[in-house]
């Protein structure tokens, strides 16, 4: 079963990570990324009917150690929720714990997801300067936030599958 989900995640397509880089700032390390994707017709219809969708971005920074297992320096995830208020005909985009943005059109709302603000992934001291880290980045439509029948449906319905491949790159900490 586990293998099955992994396989679908690997085989899934739809989200392309067009840009990804880590920048060191005063308060910590930030991820600057951009994604390219389109909602499937099923997802779009679901949005229009008020079903909330969640997009989760996962990032993991590991440092290979030849004498031991890899050092999982940073492992962080962030979920963005996209919903439509059928009464006010407004799209809401909100990141967990932060302010909700409203958009009149779906494209505007999606743009906010495709080009998210820079995301603080780790505090200042989390990485050792000078070390090289392997960064694994993944972005997908998070089915965990769907209702249970939708999850079941999403198992074998390509309309409900939206995920990126794992993008890996190296980052030399500053």
């Amino acid at each position: 079963m586990l293998a099955f989900t992994c396989a679908t995640a690997q085989a899934a397509e739809g989200i392309e990570i067009t840009r990804a880089s880590i920048e060191a700032s005063d308060d910590g390390y930030r991820l600057s990324s951009a994604y390219a994707f389109d909602l499937t017709p099923g997802l779009e219809q679901a949005i229009q009917h008020g079903v909330a969708l969640s997009f989760t971005t996962e990032i993991e920074l590991t440092r290979p150690r030849w004498w031991w297992t890899d050092d999982h320096a940073v492992s962080s995830r962030r979920t963005v929720k996209l919903s439509y208020d059928v009464l006010f005909r407004v799209y809401h985009v909100s990141v967990l714990g932060s302010i909700q943005q409203n958009f009149d059109t779906l494209d505007d709302a999606l743009l906010a997801i495709r080009r998210p603000a820079r995301w603080l992934i780790a505090p200042k001291g989390a990485l050792k300067p000078g070390e090289t880290y392997n960064v694994t980045l993944r972005m997908f439509m998070d089915r965990d936030f769907l209702s249970k029948p939708l999850q079941v449906d999403a198992f074998n319905n390509s309309d409900w599958r939206l995920a990126s491949h794992k993008k890996t790159f190296t980052y030399r900490a500053e």
Binding site: M1, L2, F4, T5, G42, Q45, A46, H49, G50, V51, A52, S54, K81, D85, V86, L87, F88, R89, S94, V95, L96, G97, S98, I99, Q100, D144, F145, L146, S147, K148, P149, L150, Q151, V152, D153, A154, F155, N156, N157
Partner: protein, 762 residues
Amino acid sequence: MIRALRYALVIGSAIASILLFLLASASSNTGFFAHDFTWLFGMILGVAGALFVLVLVAFWRLYSRYKAGKFGSRLMVRLMVLFTSVGILPGLVVFMVSVQFVSHSIESWFDVKIEAALDSGLNLSRAALDEALADLSANAGTVAATLAGQGGQDVSSILKRALDDGDGMQSAVLVDAGGKLVAGTAEDLRTDLAADLPTPQMLKQAAMPGGYARPEGGIEDDFREAHGDQPSALDAATGLRLRVVVAVPEPPGMAPRYLQLTQAVPVNLASNAAVLSTAYREYQERFAARTGLRKMYIGTLILTLLLAIFSATGASFLIAGNLAQPLLVLAEGTRAVAEGDLSPRPIVETNDELGTLTQSFNAMTGQLFEARSAVERNRAALESAKAHLESVLANMSAGVIVMDADGVVVNSNDAVHRILQVDVASLAGRPLDEIEGLEVFAGAVTRAFSAQSAQSAAGRGRGRAHWQQQIEIPRRAGTDDGHDLTLLARGSRLPVGAGSGFIVVFDDISDVISAQRSVAWGEVARRLAHEIKNPLTPIQLSAERLQMKLVDRVDPDAAALVNKATDTIVSQVAAMKRMVDDFRDYARTPPAVLAPLDLNDLIDEILHLYLAEDGSDVIHPVLQPGLPKVMGDATQLRQVIHNLLQNAQDALADRTAQDEPPRVDVVTETIHYVGADGCTGTAVRLAIVDNGPGFAPKILSRAFEPYVTSKARGTGLGLPMVKKIIDEHGGRIDVANRTDGTGASVSILLLKLAPEANLAEA
């Protein structure tokens, strides 16, 4: 079925049941479900797969056993099919109905009318909001028009008035083009007006015709976890308000200003709209999820069905195995009984009929065992009786031939071989008259049986079930011992099985005939001697008287004739007297006077007369020293030895130079034998062996009959005399040719030993 498979099936079924229960619970428990459904689903699939493999293994085992024709597999298969179908068919029916039910009931939840009603309600709410917005916008336009060009205190009073005019107005704010607060007033004085100023986007839109008009959720609702609590309708209603931003139509030359009015939506409208929108959203969500819901239910049903089927199959294996077990034990038992193993089978410990069956089966095998051992004992007894009978038959001296109704030999004993000189093995299965060498015998037997049949048919000879006849069989040509056989045969009919048979018993009575002959001869000789001897003396006396009276009265020539004739008569009469005496002696040998006698001394004494002691002797005595004394008549035994030595010397008389030197061995020795009563006995043997021509076959068989001789001159009474004397001594005499064919051998066995010799021996 092996134990491990059994346990695996039971445990697998138990786990499957627990998981199914969990799955059923999970369907109704949202929180639990969301996390663990996948995991649970996988687990159940795994267990189902494991069960499937187990069932497959069980099936494969059963199939291979069935294929191999292993005993009991057919029964197992039948029980299996029965139980499995009993388990699976109801499950299938329930499954089909459930699937139908689920498919249709879920579809029936979603109705076009409900959807339309929800849509209409939503549109109604939007329309109501839109109308309220339009009212507020119009109001805002009016206020903005009054504000145009105004400044200072007027603005505040206008705003104040606008706030008071409208129903539910929350605030009225005037901002400049940069969005900075120019003046403002609020219903609730504690409200921080600066915190709720229009954003630049709003201002931008307000500058356009129509201005900015939007309903708002009011309080910015925080991002909530999707599976967290939904905001209640009332919460949403309290926050619901309308916001209108319009540009103040300033006279030319003045900086643009913007008026913002906010108005709370009436609570009942707001709450109803919120409820409606929530319901709409949930309905839509469920509508979107209906496929998933159906998949979930059907998946659960399928899993349940699979588990039920596998469990049912597994259980049917177990039940079939348990049911078939006693039957297999019984079947094994019957096969063992068929192979002859009557040992008791393990008893099935149940109180039902199967247990009783095995017990009675064991009782049956026990009885069988008893019966069989009884049969075995009887058979052994019969066999030993038969063996005894056969050994009696084989060791009896008389020949026995058993034939069936067609004259085919069924059985015969060793004596037949000995007497008739035919191979016993060649007799069986062949008609008697076709066996080589037995033509005469067969003819005589057949004739005898025919005669008996005729006799019994004629009604005579009642009570005589057998015939008796003496049969003379000429010796076959080409064999050495060419004397005729005289058989005394008895034949009788034998009821053998369904048909009749014949049994012929015969004995070689040649010796008896021979003995009778010698007795007859003895009688003849005695009478003849008596009759002849009487006139001999007068004849002799008369001849001597003639000689005495006539010799002196006749001329010398005649006297010579008389003398000659008289001498001839006298000598011939003397010879005849001697011959007659011989006959008389043979016929009336005086009874032997037995006394202890050393045979070696006797032989020594006799041999003195024959031996020259100069190396040219032909007689070589080999006398065993310490020979026990025998009971014998010295005079008679002397005559025996004389006769035998004489015979040997006669046999060696006409030898030519190229023959090997003549030789006669005289041997004495002690013989130990086992008597008929089982005690050991001692005998003395005397053998006289020569290397002459030996006995002629014709002579050999009748050597002891009087007047049988091979010599030109001889009465033929020597050996008969010897035989008679030895018989008187209670001994045995045996004449034979030497096995290598050179010479004859006469062997005398003296069985009566002197008492002291016996004592000494003991």
